[in-house]
Amino acid sequence: MIDPVEQGHANRKQGYYGECVVRAIAAAAHLKVTKEELEPDGVDFEVKQDQPGRYPRFKRIELSVKTHSNLSRTRRGTLQVSMRREAYEALNGKVGEELDIPRFLVVVDSPKHFSEYCCLEDNKVSFSNLAYWHDLMGEPDLPANQGTVTVSVPEGNLLTPETMVALTCGDREEAARWMSA
């Protein structure tokens, strides 16, 4: 049986690694990441696109990052992610009502053991994981007595530098221009 304290440490390390993966993708997209010391409930950090001369100069999103090493996949090509009620409610508001800027769920699929997180392959270092984004904004509220929910994240929602820019500025064409600039 796994020691719950040890398991807790492992989960935190896994969560930290997942956040680092998302930060690396943001850095590769030339986006800024801000982690608030007292982060809002259900949010891990803010991603910001800084474009001087444009109004607004900063386009921003907030991300909630969940890292799992045992995600289950459906035949329909979705990842099944279990969330606590509070985490879901932090993400299912609408911009202009509960939210002032968009919020997204990011799911990082990581190896089980940390020794496999990052490996040397030929002449490069590879990260053995994939990240997926999911938009829960506007999804229905949960029934009053429901404590958890399972959301289906499409495997097609791969989080790449380009998709992260598109999520941040809200426009795929602008994201393409940004990435090729």
Partner: protein
């Protein structure tokens, strides 16, 4: 910068409108708006890299964090603690006077006795400006009888939690009229300055008169006489009462202090808002000026109440000289003293009778100083009170 110094509960009571009003007054303009909120940019070159985001509603998730971010940025740009900026945002519709005294005790503390004295001085200082504004007259000594609007005003003036930084008293004056009517948005008030509320007139008078006191102090340092310099400043609102208030504010009379004014965002701010600094020698001058102004000035239309302690009439054809021991009715300090005045005919006889029966009297007139005595000129409305009225 240390955002954690902020009282977090204050973050959620600051509405986006309060924040927007603060930004507008401090040179920021709204440059973008969507369903979630507004983005603000400043024209000042030092701020050109900054853009601030204000959520549309304080009920939005993460509002407090967003405001803490905004305060952190403003704090760095303005070089002021975030808590101070937040205070101005949450008090956006109030004029604030910051009296920063420099007592000898460690920063953030003040000896109890000194603090009590300073607070009484601040109260007198504000009261003097309110009285001068309500009466509409700038006189060297303000009337003891205050218009009812002054009491209504003073009931609205609040003392906010002091700040460390030596010792900072904060006085908050809401900009609403006496009847509670809300002020118009400042854009309208700018076009129609006559709509400025009584409260703003008072705080403006407070600033102008205090600045005039400092200016008179400078003239004294340059060699002018105390009395001449301060009498010349009476038309600008300087009075013995104001000077007494300022002298008492100085923590025992010698501790230097400075007064900063920040203005509510719903009215246009006055053009001059520099901090007014009183050095130790300025305070000595102000104290002397208060005494001198009282010595030479006429205190108009006061009512005295007390007991007759001396009577003198050399002939029935002449007025009799009467001395009363008592106080000025309505004087907050209720300073006891002797006053001289003359009475003729029936009033003199009534005075004699009141002295014999030891009954209280009242009389109205103008107080002037002659030598060491205080005389009541233009004495009238002499009344002997029944025991039930005394």
């Amino acid at each position: 910068m240390d955002v954690r110094m902020i009282d977090e509960s204050q973050l959620s009571v600051s509405s986006p409108d309060d924040v927007a009003a603060y930004l507008q007054v401090h040179g920021w303009s709204e440059v973008y708006r969507d369903a979630g909120g507004t983005a603000w940019a400043a024209a000042a070159p030092a701020f050109e890299d900054a853009e601030l985001w204000v959520p549309r509603s304080s009920s939005m998730l993460g509002y407090r964090n967003r405001l803490a971010q905004l305060l952190g940025t403003l704090s760095e740009l303005e070089g002021r603690p975030p808590a101070q900026i937040l205070f101005e945002i949450t008090h956006a519709l109030q004029d604030i006077q910051r009296v920063r005294s420099e007592p000898l005790s460690e920063s953030g503390t003040i000896e109890l006795g000194e603090g009590t004295g300073a607070l009484a001085g601040i109260h007198k200082w504000v009261l003097s400006a309110a009285t001068a504004t309500a009466t509409g007259n700038n006189t060297a000594i303000l009337p003891s009888r205050r218009p009812v609007t002054v009491d209504s005003f003073m009931a609205q003036v609040k003392l906010a939690t002091p700040e460390p930084g030596s010792f900072v008293w904060k006085i908050a004056v809401p900009l609403v009229s006496i009847d509670g009517t809300q002020p118009l948005p400042f854009a309208d008030a700018e076009r129609r300055p006559e709509l400025a509320s009584f409260n703003r007139q008072v705080t403006r008078a407070l600033y102008d008169a205090t600045a005039a006191v400092l200016s008179a102090c400078r003239k004294v340092r340059e060699g002018a006489s105390v009395l001449d310099s301060f009498q010349a400043a009476v038309p600008e609102g300087v009075s013995a009462n104001l000077c007494e208030g300022l002298a008492e504010t100085s923590s025992g009379g010698r501790a230097p202090f400075e007064i900063g004014f920040s203005w509510a965002t719903n009215y246009p701010a006055p053009p001059r808002t520099e901090t007014l600094r009183f050095a130790g020698n300025d305070i000595e001058v102000v104290e002397t000026a208060a005494t001198e102004l009282r010595r030479v000035a006429r205190e108009p239309d006061v009512q005295l109440g007390g007991y007759i302690v001396r009577l003198k009439r050399e002939s029935e054809q002449r007025a009799g000289e009467v001395t009363i021991a008592g106080t000025v009715v309505g004087d907050a300090d209720e300073k006891f003293g002797h006053f001289w005045f003359e009475l003729t005919d029936d009033d003199y006889l009534a005075a004699v009778e009141s002295h014999r029966t030891h009954r209280m009297v009242t009389i109205r007139g103008d107080i002037v100083r002659r030598g060491n005595r205080r005389w009541l000129e233009l004495a009238h409305e002499f009344q002997v009170l029944d025991d039930s009225e005394a």
